[in-house]
Amino acid sequence: MSTLTFATINEADVSAARKRYPQAFGNPLVRALKIGSWVFIAVYLAWSLHVFEIGKLLNASDRAWQLVSRMVVWQDMATWQYANIYRGIAQTIAMAFLGTLLGTIFALMWAFFAARNTMPVGIIRHAVRRLLDIFRGIDAVVWGLVFVRAVGLGPLAGVLAIWISDMGNLAKLYSEAIENIDRKQVEGVRATGADTGRIIRYGYLPQILPVFISLSLYSFESSTRSATILGLVGAGGIGMIIIERFRAGLFDQVAFVVLNVLVVIAIIDWGSGLIRKRFIGERGH
């Protein structure tokens, strides 16, 4: 066996290798398809950015710079009405909590109508699922705007908005949890001669309760995030303060408020993670 170097590989070697292993040299069709799809993506991006007037970015630098510099330099910090800010943040958390709680309660009812194993009647199940799709498909902010029109400005509209969208989300997730239940455990409880109440208590509840609690906690976390922006449409909470001060050009205060909100959200995520770990264990998802 002679040693071979890369430099001595010639056309003859290539064609000999190609003859023995034609696939190793790539299929031109596959290669064309691969290159074609990348070109397609590039062309699409270029075209869509052109349509979206990417050129506006060039003229934006002045305003952007002005904005950023005014966000970073904090002026007249004594006049910032901190009580209002923290009251707004508190209200945001309260809205998220009430909305999630009401959403959870109502989702519990809907979920059993949407799960295959608890609602055998197909028409009702599908009707409920489509209704839930409507609740879920519309963003909480849109619900917020709708409820502001219905009940007026303020946190009530915000709670209602979170309630409705959480109800839709949770009911879908709950119903999936109910459908994924392990029948064998229920059979096991039934085999001990338990009555219906006990079957539910010892067969179903231990399986679905941790999942339900965990899902609701996640839902609370995401609701806090959406509650912060509900105020942009007038549905109460910190968002109202953000947009008021933004419209008034008080960008430094906006930056301060947003930073505070980020910290609060981080704390809530951490706390909810702690509760999840404490009560459900690592495997509860």
Partner: protein, 273 residues
């Protein structure tokens, strides 16, 4: 010629390799033996600088390789190929691409990011695979192969680097005896036919005795033996291995199964570490 001058590696609290000074001439096949945790792996991985030495110097053909940086360092790594215990192939890519990745150093940024390999490289990679009897699986996804097959692919990848030194870090520790023999034979062939320096970490004594020109024994980071297989007496070997002596000497595991021509494959797979 590869020269080691007081090469040291210190981790936070422990000294993995105490100042080591020795020389490896070109074309030698060196086996480094010792019990697990003796610093064999650290020493080997310092040669291609996967582990940074904390003191001392290494010279290759008079060039200081402890001081290399950036592109020069990568060029050096390309010159001294490495074969790993766990093969370190990319499981989701096919065998051919894995082998061709041995030529990545010669690629420019865009061709390597786009994953474009030339026809010459493909032919070369197939030749390398052919040499190890693996060309027939060139288009298979790599993680569908067996351990022995993967190690041979890894050697093929090392070969397409056209290295001047081949480092092998416990190349047969995860293989069954039959595959271990195939892999060791391949390394020996590369050493003898291509004239490559091969430096090989081995856990078992008999493999080292059988395949290497020179054996270096390490114990707790210190080189305690350096000589030919003949010079390595039983007494010296027992000193190197200490408490693990019985394990390393267990004839059933090593010499019987590795005796040239022995076809009786042992079902047991030996994994060190």
């Amino acid at each position: 010629m590869l020269e080691f001058k007081a090469l040291t590696k210190q981790f936070k609290n422990t000294v993995a390799v105490k100042p080591a000074t020795f020389t490896i001439p070109d074309g030698q096949m060196v086996g480094i033996i010792g019990r697990s945790g003796a610093g064999k792996s650290t020493l080997l991985r310092m040669i291609n600088r996967l582990n940074e030495p904390s003191g001392g110097q290494m010279l290759f053909q008079g060039r200081d390789i402890t001081a290399l940086k950036g592109r020069d360092l990568r060029e050096w790594r390309n010159e001294c190929a490495m074969v790993f215990q766990q093969f370190n192939l990319v499981g989701r890519l096919n065998v051919l691409t894995n082998v061709m990745s041995g030529r990545l150093f010669h690629h420019n940024f865009f061709s390597s990011m786009a994953g474009v390999f030339s026809e010459k490289e493909r032919a070369f990679a197939i030749r390398a695979l052919d040499r190890l009897g693996m060309a027939h699986v060139a288009l298979q996804q790599t993680d569908t192969l067996s351990g022995g097959q993967m190690q041979r692919v890894a050697i093929a990848r090392a070969l397409v680097q056209e290295p001047r030194i081949m480092l092998a870090d416990e190349p047969i520790a995860s293989l069954d005896p039959l595959n271990a023999k195939v892999v060791m034979d391949a390394l020996r062939a590369i050493n003898q036919q291509d004239g490559l320096t091969v430096i090989c970490n081995l856990h078992t004594l008999d493999t080292a005795r059988q395949y290497c020109d020179r054996i270096i024994g390490m114990q707790e980071g210190v080189i305690v033996f350096d000589g030919t297989p003949k010079e390595l007496t039983d007494k010296a070997a027992r000193e190197i291995y200490g408490a693990e002596a019985e394990d390393a000497f267990s004839e059933a595991m090593t010499s019987t199964a590795l005796r040239p021509g022995a076809q009786r494959a042992q079902p047991e797979v030996r994994v060190v570490n």
